[in-house]
């Protein structure tokens, strides 16, 4: 199963996670694949360390939605 997951596109993995949300082992296996594709450069700080968490994080989320 895990090898199949690693062959999935990100979109397929999200769909797989949706469908297996109540299957702990399947969910974890898919999440591990997603996390292996993380880019450390994208790491965001703990929001409450920011000067203005609401506007700064909202801008990040808006940009993410607009790019998709």
């Amino acid at each position: 199963m895990t090898s199949d997951l690693s062959q999935m596109t990100n979109t397929e993995l999200k769909q797989y996670i949706s469908e297996h949300r109540n299957d702990e082992a399947a969910f974890r296996a898919a999440l591990e694949v997603l996390m292996s594709r993380r880019n450390p450069a994208n790491l965001q700080p703990y929001p409450f360390d920011l000067a203005n968490p609401e506007s700064e994080v909202e801008a990040i989320l808006k940009a993410k939605f607009n790019q998709d």
Binding site: R21, L34, Y46, P47, E54, L61
Partner: protein, 60 residues
């Protein structure tokens, strides 16, 4: 259980997603990985994880 910082970040992000009228589709804490996972957006555009120290990132 998630850490306190993890919980604060998750509530904050869920609130902002709601402000943007974006549905939260999946919300899970993984006991082994110690991460909170949120999948959100009308078409599941967003998937993010929140680590134990309250930092977070898009996995997609």
């Amino acid at each position: 259980m998630p850490t306190h910082k993890q919980l604060e970040t998750s509530v904050f992000l869920c609130q902002l997603l709601s402000n943007l009228y974006q549905p939260i589709q999946v919300f899970r804490f993984d006991q082994k990985l110690k991460t909170l996972y949120i999948q959100a957006g009308r078409e599941d555009e967003i998937a993010l994880v929140i680590d134990e120290d309250g930092t977070w990132e898009f996995v997609l």
